[in-house]
């Protein structure tokens, strides 16, 4: 099972994971990452923008590349776009594999690339004002953990 979706309405992680687990009932291990809008620090909302011609194809290529690097029975990448309140689910990545290390690595890899190497622009609303989020210094280090496949 290979699921890649961009959603402009609420993401229901429990339902999506239940569906994915049911489709991979014999897999042995299933790792998932759920990212939620952080609360606190005056954050009122997060707005996620994308560029349709590139964003979804980029995530599809990421799912393919994770599937090529590790032995997976399936991978799912679901990502929100648009405006979200604190605590709303933003991203769900799940991988099913016979050996749990493959599933852990694939989800970790997909998250590093989704966060730093995918066509998303984020802005935060704090105390009524929107502010764009810039790249972080750690992002390059996160990506450098994954040597290119040669």
């Amino acid at each position: 099972m290979r699921v890649v979706r961009l959603l402009d309405t609420a993401l229901d992680p429990a339902a999506e994971l239940a569906r994915f687990a049911a489709a991979h009932a014999g897999a042995g291990g299933l790792v998932s990452f759920l990212g939620q809008v952080r609360g606190g620090e005056g954050i009122e909302a997060l707005d996620l923008r994308h560029f349709p011609p590139l964003t979804l194809p980029g995530i599809e290529a990421l799912a393919d590349s994770a599937s090529a690097r590790w032995r997976l029975d399936g991978i799912a990448i679901l990502h929100r776009i648009g405006e979200m309140p604190p605590a709303a689910p933003i991203v769900l990545v799940a991988a099913a594999a016979r050996h749990r290390r493959d599933a852990f690595s694939a989800v970790d890899y997909a998250m590093d690339h989704l966060k730093s190497d995918s066509w998303f622009w984020k802005r935060e609303k704090r105390d009524g004002a929107w502010r764009w989020i810039e790249p972080r210094a750690e992002d390059g280090a996160d990506l450098a953990r994954w040597a290119p496949v040669t």
């Binding site: 923008r49 560029f51 349709p52 011609p53 590139l54 998250m111 989704l114 966060k115 730093s116 190497d117 995918s118 066509w119 998303f120 622009w121 984020k122 764009w132 989020i133 810039e134 790249p135 972080r136 750690e138 992002d139 996160d142």
Partner: protein, 79 residues
């Protein structure tokens, strides 16, 4: 006419997420940018900004034709 699309913080500099620009004949990318307000043209000069023409990333000098969609993609937000 060409359609110019601004992503991320470039939207704030441009004052809109997209604008249309009169364009009668194929024009080099830098000549298109030069027609824009100075502050926006300066922001678009950042070498980290990627350009997509009709949804495909271009590298190096590009010729923009009437009807093209030109998107300016600043660095993504990271995580």
């Amino acid at each position: 006419m060409a359609r110019l699309v601004f992503l991320g913080r470039l939207e704030d500099v441009a004052g809109a997420d997209e604008i249309t620009l009169p364009l009668a004949a194929p024009t080099p990318l830098d000549a298109v940018v030069a027609q824009l307000p100075a502050a926006l043209a300066r922001a678009l000069g950042d070498p980290r900004i990627r350009v997509a023409v009709n949804g495909a990333l271009v590298a190096g000098p590009a010729l923009i034709a009437p009807g093209d969609e030109l998107a300016f993609l600043p660095p993504v937000s990271g995580g």
